[in-house]
């Protein structure tokens, strides 16, 4: 009977797209990572683990890992701390907090390229707003995007500005799920605001924090657009994050083998992070039940 096959028809389009554009490419990438190719040669000779070996012994790769890790280590706690702080003020459904939530949330759905371009201007040495403001308080021109440390910091700030609204929304959902009685009980105990925050809020939003922590670490490992638009990985490779390196090796140096090896390593790393995430979500579901 045809009915038996119906569900297969319904899922067929989705599975076809997923197979062609997600699963088969993983196999292709793994295959290419063992080969040498520059898009031009007719053959793609098999070179075994050479690409991985080259990658794992290159300063470039470890620089990228380091930069990406620094980005994550600074940006993730910054985002979470600011977001939790903001969220704890904004849980009520009154007009003012709702409006402010909207303002925080807006950048997270706005075009990253636009944001990157706008901040390139804000931090440009000669005509940027940042230096114009600093001039008023007597600080000289700072070459934001030309200084390796500052450039990375600027990228972190821009990324925080863009993403924090998302974190706030999630935190608010987490905070609103905390039963009011717990606050009341803490207040009866004579707890001050900070005390309540530390003893009640912090522990109870811990699952949300875990969730955001892992999500934002995963995101940090996939940052590309702001790097590509604002710094191209420079100055002096100071912002050459992993995906930027992947793009650079693949689509400007055309070392397809090494690029694919890098993609495979990134893939393994992110899968590992995602598995941690699933366990965390598992914990959260458990907690809520």
């Amino acid at each position: 009977m045809a009915r038996k096959f119906l569900p297969y028809f319904y899922i067929l389009p989705l599975l076809a797209f997923i197979a062609v554009f997600t699963y088969i490419p993983i196999a292709t990438s793994i295959n290419l990572s063992f080969r040498e190719w520059d898009f031009m040669s007719a053959t793609k000779p098999f070179v075994g683990l050479e690409n991985y070996q080259l990658l794992l012994t290159s300063t470039e790769f470890w620089n990228s890992v380091k930069i990406t890790a620094i980005f994550a280590i600074i940006s993730v706690p910054l985002r979470l701390a600011l977001a939790l702080m903001a969220a704890s003020f904004l849980t009520s459904e009154k007009f003012a907090p709702r409006m402010l939530r909207g303002a925080f949330f807006l950048p997270s759905v706005t075009s990253t390229v636009s944001i990157a371009v706008v901040f390139s201007w804000v931090f440009s040495t000669d005509y940027g707003v940042a230096n114009a403001l600093l001039k008023h308080i007597g600080v000289g021109k700072i070459p934001w995007m030309q200084d390796p440390q500052l450039a990375l910091l600027v990228l972190i700030l821009v990324n925080t500005w863009k993403q924090i609204g998302y974190d706030i929304v999630i935190y608010i959902a987490g905070l609103q799920a905390i039963p009011q009685e717990l606050y009341d009980a803490a207040a009866v105990d004579g707890g001050r605001r900070f005390h309540v925050f530390r003893r009640v809020t912090m522990p109870l939003v811990m699952p949300t924090t875990y969730f955001l922590l892992v999500i934002s670490v995963i995101e940090a490992f996939q940052v590309f657009t702001i790097v590509n638009v604002m710094t191209h990985g420079g100055p002096a490779s100071a912002t050459d994050m992993l995906v930027n390196m992947l793009y650079r090796v693949g689509f400007t140096l055309f070392d397809i083998g090494t690029g694919s090896a890098l993609a495979v390593l990134l893939f393994i790393l992110l899968i590992a992070l995602s598995l941690i995430k699933s366990r965390v979500i598992g914990r959260k579901v458990h907690y809520e039940a």
């Binding site: 009915r3 119906l6 569900p7 297969y8 319904y10 899922i11 389009p13 989705l14 599975l15 797209f17 997923i18 997600t22 699963y23 088969i24 490419p25 993983i26 292709t28 990438s29 290419l32 007009f95 003012a96 409006m99 402010l100 909207g102 303002a103 807006l106 706005t110 075009s111 990253t112 390229v113 636009s114 944001i115 990157a116 371009v117 706008v118 901040f119 201007w121 804000v122 005509y127 998302y166 929304v169 999630i170 608010i172 959902a173 949300t208 996939q222 590309f224 657009t225 590509n228 995906v243 992947l246 793009y247 690029g259 993609a263 990134l266 893939f267 992110l270 899968i271 995602s274 699933s278």
Partner: protein, 269 residues
């Protein structure tokens, strides 16, 4: 219900404006002339928009973005809804496994498909075409997952009643499930749209022709090429940037609620 505190509201308003000030100031800048700006003066014009749209093809880029994001949204949400319906309502051999395969893609970073997808579409000659932008974006595992959860929350008795009336399974989907899942479908459609509107790395590699650039690629290129002599023409670049955030900006107040709902449900479920 307490009355709103006007001082708090004012404070919130100011803080919100301060937070958004880089973006707001960029829009302000887009209405100034470059000459006056660099000389430290202030002079207003809409000429930057004229040049962005005319000389620098931003009208075309806007059209491309609308077409691509529009088709991806309609196609993506249809495919996801259909699959979600099957996964939520039918028991079939391999169903759980296949659903697992769909959900697993949520963990897979899209960058691993960058080079292979480039080669696949190159092989079939679809780079430099709308199809080349649209096809790889058609499967939304997240929307499928989200909608399946949502549909499972709809009482089965409603389906049964419709079947009793002689409806086919597609009619059940269309007459019962879709109307009842409307908020969830709307949220997911918005996510797909925004994601596609803002996507960058794929259009960057897949499109090499000026008349097929999306807004994001066009804007990045305009900034990089630096038209005009000497220093960057920031007012022009900001006009182009404003064009590329405009739809989201205009629609934001209307859809924020749906977006927030989508995000929080996705995170908690």
């Amino acid at each position: 219900m307490k009355l709103e505190n006007p001082v708090q509201s004012l404070f919130a308003l100011l803080f919100g404006l301060l937070f958004l000030s880089p973006a707001l100031y960029s829009i302000w800048l887009s209405f100034q002339t470059a000459d006056a700006y660099y000389a430290g003066g202030l002079e207003f014009t809409v000429d930057n928009y004229g040049r962005a749209v005319g000389q620098y093809h931003f009208a075309r880029y806007l059209l491309n973005s609308v077409i691509v994001s529009g088709i991806v949204t309609v196609g993506g949400i249809s495919i996801a809804t259909l699959a979600a319906y099957a996964f939520a309502r039918f028991r079939f051999r391999g169903g759980d496994l296949l659903f697992g395969a769909v959900v697993a893609t949520l963990m897979i970073p899209s960058h691993i498909s960058l080079i292979p997808n480039y080669l696949t579409l190159a092989k079939v000659g679809l780079l430099d075409s709308y199809a080349g932008l649209i096809l790889p974006a058609m499967a939304s595992a997240f929307a499928t997952f989200f909608l399946r959860q949502y549909i499972r929350g709809i009482p089965r008795s409603l389906d049964e009643a419709a079947y009793m009336d002689g409806a086919t399974s597609l009619q059940v989907l269309w007459r019962v499930i879709v109307p009842l899942s409307r908020p969830a479908i709307l949220s997911m459609a918005l996510f797909i749209f925004i994601g596609e509107w803002n996507s960058y790395i794929w259009p960057l590699v897949a499109i090499g022709k000026d008349d097929l650039y999306t807004l994001q690629v066009g804007l990045a290129r305009l900034y990089r090429i630096n038209p005009g002599e000497g220093v960057i023409d920031w007012p022009l670049v900001m006009a182009a940037s404003t064009i590329s955030i405009l739809p989201v900006l205009l629609g934001f107040a209307l859809v924020e609620r749906h977006l927030v709902r989508g995000i929080t449900m996705g995170a908690v479920k």
